[in-house]
């Protein structure tokens, strides 16, 4: 009886060292080439505030900011993100504080279960950074990459508008 020869490299999953800056901290992680950025953030770096909803680019729950641009981290192969500067929801605002968007979401009941919340916060933040006085249509357009399955969008849209109003008020002070 002959032993079954292991196929060369048959079990080896290609991997690599990856350097990232995550929430201002330089990190080196060993990742498999096949890992998505969202999986590396959650499984390798413990940033579990980044959620996996659809893993297909539809729901937006995995949204992070990458090199200044909001990004669905399920649509990024981690290996392609070498050197990237990433902000997750854990680094969205300084520890222990809420920005106007977060506070308005809280005050206006803009979320229920909270699963989609990190993505919505990043999407609204991205809008207000570009447009301090968005209309309802602008807000709805900015949220089209994010799905909420609990509450609907009425309070979300209202909270985004309220956050914009409070930020403008702050600016005028």
């Amino acid at each position: 009886m002959t032993a079954v020869e292991p196929r060369a490299d048959s079990d080896a999953v290609p991997d690599r060292d990856l350097a990232l800056t995550v929430n201002g901290r330089r990190r080196r992680v060993r990742v498999e080439d096949r890992q998505l950025l969202v999986d590396v953030l959650r499984d390798n770096l413990g940033m579990t505030g980044t959620h996996i909803g659809c893993a297909g680019g539809d729901c937006g729950a995995c949204t992070v900011r990458m090199d200044g641009q909001i990004t669905k981290s399920c649509l990024v192969l981690a290996a392609s993100a070498e050197g990237a500067d990433i902000t997750t929801i854990e680094g969205y605002s300084p520890r222990g504080t809420l920005d106007h968007v977060q506070q308005a979401f809280w005050d206006l009941d803009a979320f229920q279960c909270g699963f989609c919340l990190p993505g919505h916060l990043f999407a609204v933040r991205d809008l207000l950074d570009r447009d301090p006085d968005p209309g309802e249509d602008d807000i709805r357009e900015a949220l089209r990459g994010n799905l909420c399955r609990c509450t609907g969008y009425v309070n979300l849209v209202a909270a985004a508008g309220e956050a914009a109003r409070r930020e403008r008020e702050d600016q005028e002070r």
Binding site: P14, R34, D39, A55, I70, L75, V76, S80
Partner: protein, 271 residues
């Protein structure tokens, strides 16, 4: 998660990309924005051992070339929306890009050329680029090769890309007068039917997308309602069926979608 033993490659020269694609032919995918490829790999629908990422090749330019406009393979929808050159010379492309769903989290990465290469019938770019008479510029082991988009798109998810080749760019005609119409269930849905109306000075055409496996470019000699309806009805012979809509529905709405695109061409986009 992706279950194959995937190896990631990021070449920084076109010839190296072509060599990798040739070496692993049949077990390799080209990665641009990733918005269609990675979900497919996640779901096990695309099963490859290698990906060749184009982002190291500097293919993100939008430039004039002779009388045409060239878009590199890494040009994203957001790039198209922000481009003064496209706004001026090919406004159809930013017009279409603004209607692509997924939010800025997706449209900042997803590429126009990538969408063309996936050749999924229920998407915007195959139809829009066909309307503009695009030429597809490939790069392969034996150098560059150019193909008209009408020959590049062979069928649903089928393109004329040979072993070792990748699409480096597309060039399109500068067309200032155009209109677009898209029918979809909701903001977040894929298109059920699209129409790009283009007046290039010589001819008025409507190109239907998502209605058949390949885009349908229809010359409109007479833009009256009855004539458009007849021309479209005659052209739609094998309408596409998917989970969003059966073929007979697409065939039924195609003339309306065509007319709305022509109206937008004539009157400008509705506010």
């Amino acid at each position: 998660m992706i279950r194959t033993r995937l190896r990631y490659h990021r070449p920084d020269r076109p010839d190296d990309a072509a060599a990798l694609l040739a070496e692993h032919h049949g077990r390799v995918a080209v990665l641009a924005g990733g918005s269609q490829l990675l979900p497919r790999m996640n779901r096990g629908e695309t099963d490859v051992d290698h990906v060749v990422d184009l982002r190291g090749l500097g293919l993100r330019g939008i430039e004039r070339t002779g009388g045409r406009v060239r878009l590199g393979a890494m040009v994203t929808y957001e790039d198209a929306i922000a481009s003064p050159l496209l706004a001026d010379a090919v406004p159809l492309l930013p017009r279409v890009a603004r209607g692509v769903t997924g939010g800025r989290q997706l449209t900042g990465h997803a590429t126009l050329v990538g969408a063309l290469c996936h050749a999924f019938p229920g998407t915007d770019m195959p139809g829009a680029l066909s309307a503009l008479g695009a030429t597809v510029e490939l790069h392969g082991p034996s150098g560059p090769r150019s193909v008209p988009v009408s020959e590049f798109l062979l069928g649903a998810q089928e393109i004329d890309r040979r072993a070792g080749e990748f699409v480096a760019a597309v060039t399109v005609d500068g067309v200032a007068r155009s209109g677009y119409c898209k029918v979809k269930h909701a903001t977040g849905s894929w298109p059920i039917a699209t129409a790009s109306a283009v007046d290039d000075g010589d001819a008025l055409t409507v190109t239907l997308g998502a209605v058949q496996a390949r885009p349908l470019r229809i010359v409109i000699p007479d833009p009256t309602r009855a004539a458009v309806d007849d021309a479209v009805a005659a052209a739609v012979t094998a309408p596409w069926t998917d989970v969003l809509a059966p073929g007979d529905y697409r065939a039924r709405i195609a003339p309306v979608v065509a007319r709305r695109a022509l109206t937008e061409l004539r009157e400008g986009a509705r506010a």
